[in-house]
Amino acid sequence: MNISPRTAQVVMKASASTAKDQIRNRFWSWVIFVGGALYFLIPLAATFYWSLRAKKDVLGFEAYRKLFADSNFLPSFSESIVNAITAIFISLLIIVPTAYWVMLRLPRLRPVIEFITLLPFVIPAVVLVFGLIRLYSRPPLLFTATYGSSRVLLVCVYAALSFPYMFRAVDNGLRAMDVRSLTEAAQSLGANWSTILLRVIFPNLRVALLSGALLTFAIVIGELTIALYMAQHTLGPYMAELTRSKVYEPSAMAIVAFAITWAAMGIIQLIGRGQAGQIAGGR
């Protein structure tokens, strides 16, 4: 095939301009990426640097040592972890069967359920906690009388706070598989509802459940407003108290909380990577 010199010139010009555009786009992508990264990393680095200056003129982990040595740190930390795990289980028990049933039998109700699960986003924490205290501080629903009963109420509230994340995670997981066919296949093979949920639906929602659970964990672990007004000794109020009374330990605490959150995200990524192909391929 013969190409005229004029056509060749036009083609070369066009490919040269495409290459220039690509370089320009890549440059601006990097500028935006670096700008965004600095926006997050500079405060983090500054906090980390500040947390290392507990001893005069020496950079070290003194603030972290003091933090872990504080007799209030571990009890509040462990209490928050127990609260978070319990809230995750309550949330899973409510959300998974609900989302499954809505998808299978009541798809028209989906917008309603979606709206209900979004309410914790819409209602500010202060409004929520005063509403809860008003409702649950008198018989027959007296939940604020003791520390233990307040804690039960707090965990239930945390479960409700997790609904927006948990419902979306579970809903996305269910949409990624052919729920109806899998359910009917299991039914035709003799499975009842509990078997279907436990052996077919839950295992295939592993990634979705983990992301929902870990997001919930990340939110609950440092939650302040509700725990403070319910007089709970969890990590959030502990951190607030620390900020008021100490100089370097709050920074160390912020870095520890940040590390825990990122570790949670890392676990989601790690587990998710293993299963994505399996679920997609199974369809």
């Binding site: 899998l182 009917e184 296949a185 299991a186 295992p203 399996q278 391929g281």
Partner: protein, 356 residues
Amino acid sequence: MAYLSLSNVSKQFGDSYAVQDFNLDVEKGEFISFLGPSGCGKTTTLRMVAGFEVPTNGTITLDGGNITYKAPNQRNMGMIFQSYALFPNMTVGQNIGFGLRVRKAGKSEIADRVKEMVSLVNLEKHVDKYPYQLSGGQQQRVALARALAIRPDVLLLDEPLSALDAKIRVSLRAQIRDIQRRLGITAIFVTHDQEEALSISDRIVVMYEGNVEQVGTPFDIYNFPQTQFVANFVGSLNTAVAEVKDREKGLLSVDGVQFASAAKMDGLQKGDKVRIAIRPERFSFASEVKKANVVDCQIENITFLGSVVRVHILIGNSKFTMDTFNYPSLALPKIGAEEQVTCSREAVLILGPAEG
């Protein structure tokens, strides 16, 4: 008494009926296909047999017992889906053994049955693989093995070959039929593909708009369609409006060209307009063999379809097609040439009064 029986079964969704007064008796070991276009009610009927839909009216009995309202997990019916519906979190072996594990069968029994089933569908090498590691055809064979592992009373197949490519579809349908025959299992197969239904079934139920149009063997359905829908839906068909000329002799006229038909003309009068149908393969050139009807025609076009040559002809003002086998010594006329074609009296079917 029939093994599986559907009596006056109807299913209503809102104001409209998806299935209306469906009646069918299925013998043990029979392979039945529900054939029809989308929305004709074939899948709804299958789902009622499986227990996923409850009939609005009517009764379904299996081996003498009423199963109309029985839950799907208590019916012992194996079902195969278009989307395979394999459990993604389980291996091939675990998928096949699922039904037995649910039934709390012993470990050795499960292992033996899984081994038997993977050998039945020739997947011995893939028993430890996950569904996503298999091709579509292999996944559907796993689904077949899984459905058969529970030794179902009836095997239900909901368009199981639709998602597969043409070659695998043909080989898998032969394999399904072979396994069904070997095991002597009763099977109901839903499809919209007439070739699939004709090639695989003992009997076919042709459905249209929720109603049964015709039930019969593939031979009867193809050669003796009882309604215009069946005639049009199953196979290629030439249809034309004809005028009754002589009821006693079975003579009809298409645009002034006379045809003799063996079809019954009860209730028809001379001058009535009817719709006639002739399969393309029932025509042949009159130069070869002359049959009862010999008519003049003009060759409009010729299309090669591999093993078949389709000749488009004009009889009077009506367009017809004629199919003839393609063989090396075939002498085809030129386009535009005047020819004579022939067909038997039996080839000329009467579908009913011509509408309009």
